[in-house]
C-alpha cells in the first residue's frame, strides 16, 4: 500500500509522474491499483513556516524574516524556470497561478 500526495497546481507533482511511472513498472505495480492511493495535498513547508507572534507583539526579526523570504522567493522563481525547462514549457506557463481546489 502506498499513498501519494499531489498538488495539481505545483510543477514538482507533474515532474514526479514520469519517474514514478518508471518506478512502478519496475515494481511492478499498477498506478491505478487500489493499492495506490492518490490524495490531494495543498500544504508545504512554506505554508507552515512563519511567525508565531501574538497580535500586537513586536517582532524583533521582522527585517530578517522579510529579507529571507525575498531570497527564498527569488530562488523559487529560478527553480521554477529549471522545472519548466525539464517539462518543456515556458516559464510564464509555470508561473501561472491555478486554484488547485477545482
Amino acid at each position: 500500500m502506498i499513498t501519494l500526495y499531489i498538488n495539481f497546481s505545483e510543477l514538482p507533482s507533474w515532474l514526479m509522474l514520469a519517474p514514478l511511472k518508471d518506478l512502478f513498472e519496475k515494481a511492478p505495480t499498477d498506478l491505478a491499483s487500489p493499492e495506490v492511493i492518490w490524495k490531494p495535498m495543498l500544504g508545504s513547508l512554506g505554508s507552515v513556516a512563519g511567525s508565531n507572534l501574538k497580535p500586537g507583539e513586536d517582532d524583533p526579526l521582522v527585517i530578517y524574516r522579510a529579507r529571507r523570504a525575498d531570497a527564498r522567493h527569488r530562488a523559487a522563481k529560478r527553480e521554477n524556470e529549471r522545472m519548466c525547462e525539464i517539462l518543456g514549457i515556458k516559464p510564464e506557463q509555470g508561473e501561472r497561478k491555478i486554484n488547485p481546489l477545482y
Partner: protein, 227 residues
C-alpha cells in the same frame, strides 16, 4: 581552469551534515577546491523555537503543531540518510546559535585546506553526537587546535574582526539570494539543497545533455559507510 564552487553550510543543519561527504566528493571528481562559507540560519524565525531535556521531554516551545510536524519529519528524513552513511545524528535539544562555530570556519579558512577540512569534519561529527557545545568560545578554540589550526589570536578575532566579517557576510548572503544550507553556487547559479547535487555535477561537467531533475546523490552509496 577548473570551475569555482562555493558551498554554504551551517553546523546546526542536519541536511548540511549529511550532504558533506557527497560535497567533498565533488573536489575529487572535478579537481576543484570548494570555497566554504558559513550561512548561519535563524531557524527560530521560520520554524519556531523549542527546548528538550535529557529525557527528550519538551520543556519550552513556541512551535505550532504544524511546525513540530515539519521539524520531526526533517529529522526523520535526515536520519534515514545519516544511517545509510554510518553517521550518528542525534536530534538537537534546542536551537543553537552556531555563529561562533561559523566564525571558527572563517578562521580555519585562513589556515589552509587541511586544517579547514579537519575543522568541518570534526565539528560536524561531534556536534551531531551531542558532544560539542558550539556556543562556548573555548570549545571552538579547542576545535581549531584539534584540527591543526593555530588558534593564537582567535578569541580577539571572535570578538572583533571575525564577528564583524560573519555578520556582514550574513547580510551579503541574503542579498545574493541564498537562504538555506547546503547551497551550492557555480558561475552565479545557486542550487539549494543536496537534492541538487546531480545538477551541480551536470553544471561542473559543462552542462552537457539535458538538465537533470532533482535527486539525492547516490555516488557515495556505492562506497563503504563513513567510519
Amino acid at each position: 581552469m577548473s570551475a569555482r564552487l562555493e558551498v554554504y553550510i551551517d553546523f546546526k543543519s542536519p541536511y548540511a551534515f549529511i550532504a558533506k561527504d557527497a560535497t567533498y566528493q565533488l573536489e575529487q571528481d572535478f579537481g576543484l577546491e570548494i570555497d566554504w562559507y558559513p550561512l548561519t540560519l535563524n531557524i527560530g524565525s521560520y520554524l519556531g523555537t523549542a527546548k528538550k531535556d535529557d529525557s527528550g521531554q519538551v520543556t519550552e516551545s513556541s512551535r505550532s503543531p504544524r511546525q513540530w510536524l515539519a521539524v520531526k519529519y526533517a529529522y526523520k528524513d535526515a536520519r534515514r540518510y545519516a544511517e545509510l552513511r554510518g553517521l550518528t545524528l542525534k536530534g538537537t535539544q534546542k536551537i543553537w546559535d552556531s555563529s561562533l562555530s561559523a566564525i571558527g570556519l572563517l578562521w580555519a579558512k585562513r589556515h589552509g585546506r587541511v586544517c579547514l577540512k579537519h575543522y568541518i569534519d570534526d565539528t560536524y561529527d561531534r556536534f551531531w553526537k551531542r558532544a560539542l557545545d558550539i556556543e562556548d568560545s573555548q570549545v571552538i578554540v579547542a576545535q581549531l587546535q584539534v584540527s591543526g589550526c593555530d588558534a593564537e589570536g582567535f578569541e580577539e578575532y571572535l570578538a572583533g574582526e571575525g564577528r564583524d566579517d560573519h555578520d556582514r557576510l550574513q547580510e551579503e548572503i541574503l542579498d545574493r539570494g541564498y537562504y538555506g544550507v547546503p547551497t551550492y553556487v557555480i558561475d552565479g547559479e545557486s542550487y539549494f539543497g543536496r537534492q541538487h547535487l546531480p545538477r551541480v555535477r551536470w553544471h561542473l561537467e559543462g552542462k552537457t545533455g539535458p538538465l537533470p531533475d532533482v535527486a539525492y546523490d547516490s555516488i557515495l552509496h556505492q562506497s563503504s559507510p563513513a567510519s
